[in-house]
């Protein structure tokens, strides 16, 4: 039994620190990918996309059915990579489309009218309720019971770190997050659309006058957020082995907390916030009853908003 740091850590953290830390980073990576969607939309529109958690939920279902369609039984090597890639792409596509539909139906009419903020929030809550209940009533696809994921990627130890195994699934999730983040960073920092996103986040009116097509930028932002949430959704499904109509609620809230923790609107902050929150939760549960796990995120949220509302890295769309 390996123990860590003499008196620096409370008893509950001394044993099992590393496995919990690995778990926390995995969960945190998923939070980070969802948080990127919240943060992008907030950066551009200054609005909390409450329905983002359902965009994620659609991803878990799309990933599930894509896996069922292409994958059969445990396989290894290139075939597995292909199967996982297909599932993830399907989830990203479905979530991306959901995010686009959301923007088109629930937000754009309000934006055109110049409605007050409260209207956006209510419309977002409504769409969230609608989407999750859509999967609740679509019984052959969703339904009230959780739908199990096919066991395509069997969990096994990929390598050992600090004396504890890191599973192949954990590796896949953290790796995907890093790749997605790097791609998003490049997109926002060096593409034409990315520059537009930054310009609109900075000052929509001036950006509009300079010839930036704001509608196009908003659509691109929702799409990017949806793609990230889709990838996160399929990975969440693979890691926890199920999809369910209300699966998005808790990860959604936590990802939002992560975005606020890092500084909403800040892309790097979303990743930092996600990883930190994941770690905090996983390690926190070793010290308190696991019934309280979900409360940790809420307390972090309230504490951040009270003492440092601009988050750890500040609010601004930055790489």
């Amino acid at each position: 039994m390996r123990q860590l740091g003499g008196r620096a850590l409370p008893d509950c953290l001394r044993t099992g620190f590393w496995p919990h830390a690995f778990d926390g980073l995995t969960l945190g990576s998923i939070y980070a990918m969802i948080a990127l969607g919240y943060t992008m939309v907030y950066g551009v529109l200054q609005l909390i996309n409450f329905a983002h958690s359902e965009v994620f939920m659609v991803g878990t279902f799309a990933g599930l059915y894509a896996l069922k369609a292409v994958g059969s039984g445990p396989e290894g090597g290139l075939v597995l990579a292909g199967v996982m890639g297909t599932a993830m792409l399907a989830a990203m596509g479905a979530s991306g489309l959901t995010a686009l539909a959301l923007e088109r139906i629930a937000y754009r009419p309000l934006r055109k009218r110049g409605a007050p903020r409260l209207s956006y929030l209510i419309s977002a809550i409504g769409s969230s309720l609608f989407l999750s209940n859509l999967f609740f009533v679509l019984n052959p696809i969703g339904g009230p019971a959780p739908r199990p994921y096919p066991q395509v990627m069997v969990r096994r130890t990929a390598f050992t770190l600090f004396g504890y195994g890191v599973s192949n699934q954990q590796l896949l999730i953290v790796g995907t997050m890093i790749v997605m983040y790097a791609a998003l960073d490049r997109f926002v920092m060096s593409s034409h659309t990315g520059r537009g996103i930054r310009a609109v986040a900075e000052d929509p009116e001036t950006a509009g006058m300079m010839g930036v097509n704001i509608n196009r930028i908003v659509v691109a932002t929702f799409l990017v957020g949806g793609l990230m949430a889709g990838a996160a959704g399929s990975l969440y499904g693979i890691y926890f082995g199920q999809a369910r109509f209300d699966i998005g609620f808790i990860p959604g809230i936590k990802a939002f907390t992560a975005a606020v923790l890092g500084g909403i609107g800040n892309i790097r902050g979303a990743v930092l916030g996600g990883l930190l929150l994941g770690l905090l939760e996983s390690l926190g549960v070793t010290c308190i009853r696991s019934d309280w796990q979900d409360v940790i995120a809420f307390l972090v949220l309230v504490a951040v908003l009270m003492f440092r509302p601009s988050g750890l890295l500040g609010e601004a769309v930055r790489g």
Binding site: Q46, L47, F50, P116, L118, L121
Partner: protein, 359 residues
């Protein structure tokens, strides 16, 4: 000259309306008092639910409609009212206090005499919770407030589930007593019959309407309008914005607390499952559908959202599972096509049509 003309026009307007109003108002009062007597017990309980949610919607309307604050954890205050009553009258705590551990005897009769004091206790408990939540968070931007209140709602529910020693955890508290009235030697015990609860809630709703109408026209009401329309300008003009928002929170919360006490004593049972985010959204959709900022709107909203699904469910039994799908769609559709709701508040309608928007 012009002024005199206007005053005269105003005078006739008021007279005309008073004459027109008195007939329907009396008729309306008669209908709401007598109608439940002609209905089956089932529909009587539906009406009791309607009034209960009307009371909750009126409270939330103060927060969302008047002060313009989106509270997604409103159900927490309702839960606190429920639990306040349940814990005092039937919780393990009160049993231990009076009978020692392990004995499951009915609660001591003394609570029956105090029952109406406990309504006040529920009110105060919820109001304190509202202030405790509001004081640090009402400084936040509006959209942060929404998610913090949502978090608060979840914390209250999770706490109710986890503090087994006080709340009996997920199993909930049972055998909560019905209310009783003792007035000058006259005794009346509420039972399973929905009618007494109907009249009790009718009185509470009427009281609340009175309070809200007065509030709307008071200094606080005007402060809320100013905060809603432009918080910065309101603060600059000397409106104590945080204190005024805190008032809205406290009033909304205490209403939910009272509703909670009534509900707990009506169904004799409280468990954490009844207080999810869905219930908060359920009440929110009443306020939004009826018309934010309009008192009658909240009542009509509660009526539509409680009664219509019941009627449909009678015809199509499988409708039950589609309820929340429909509510979600209703929220979006109302926001897009009729943000002012079924019965618009004139001032609010103006604000909702145009305001300075994000983009």
């Amino acid at each position: 000259m012009k002024l005199a003309g206007r005053t005269e026009a105003l005078g006739t307007w008021v007279r005309g309306h008073r004459a027109a109003a008195s007939g329907p108002v009396v008729a309306g009062l008669l209908i709401v008092t007598l109608v439940p007597l002609r209905l089956s017990t089932y529909w009587q309980s539906v009406l009791v639910d309607t009034l209960l949610f009307a009371l909750l919607a009126l409270g939330l309307n103060v927060v969302v409609g008047f002060a313009g604050l989106l509270d997604l954890g409103y159900v927490a205050f309702y839960a606190i009212g429920n639990y306040a009553f349940a814990i005092v009258t039937a919780g393990t705590f009160s049993k231990a206090l009076f009978f020692g551990n392990g004995l499951h005897l009915p609660p001591p009769p003394m609570w029956h005499d105090w029952m109406w004091l406990l309504v006040l206790a529920g009110l105060v408990a919820a109001m304190v919770a509202g202030v405790v939540l509001g004081a640090p968070t009402l400084r936040l931007r509006g959209d942060y407030l929404a998610i913090v209140t949502l978090g608060f709602g979840e914390i209250v529910r999770i706490s109710a589930r986890n503090f087994d020693s006080i709340t009996v955890g997920p199993r909930g508290i049972t055998a909560i007593p019905h209310p009783e009235l003792h007035l000058f030697g006259w005794h009346y015990a509420f039972g399973l019959d929905p009618r007494p609860y109907y009249y009790l809630l009718l009185v509470l709703v009427a009281l609340m309407v009175g309070v809200v109408v007065r509030l709307d026209r008071s200094r606080i009401g005007r402060a809320w309008v100013a905060i809603r329309e432009d918080e910065l300008a309101a603060a600059a003009m000397g409106v104590p914005t945080v204190r005024m928002k805190l008032w809205a929170f406290a009033i909304g919360a205490s209403t939910a607390g009272v509703a909670g006490v009534v509900q707990a004593s009506r169904v004799n049972f409280v468990s954490p499952d009844g207080f999810t985010l869905l219930t908060s959204i359920f009440i929110l959709s009443m306020v939004v559908l009826g018309g934010m900022g309009n008192i009658w709107g909240s009542i009509v909203g509660a009526g539509v959202i409680v009664i219509v699904p019941e009627v449909i469910r009678r015809a199509i039994p499988s409708f039950q599972q589609y309820r929340f799908l429909v509510f979600g769609a209703v929220l979006v559709v109302v926001m897009i096509f009729r943000p002012q709701g079924l019965i618009p508040s004139r001032r609010r309608a103006m604000e909702l049509e145009t305001a300075d928007a994000p983009v």
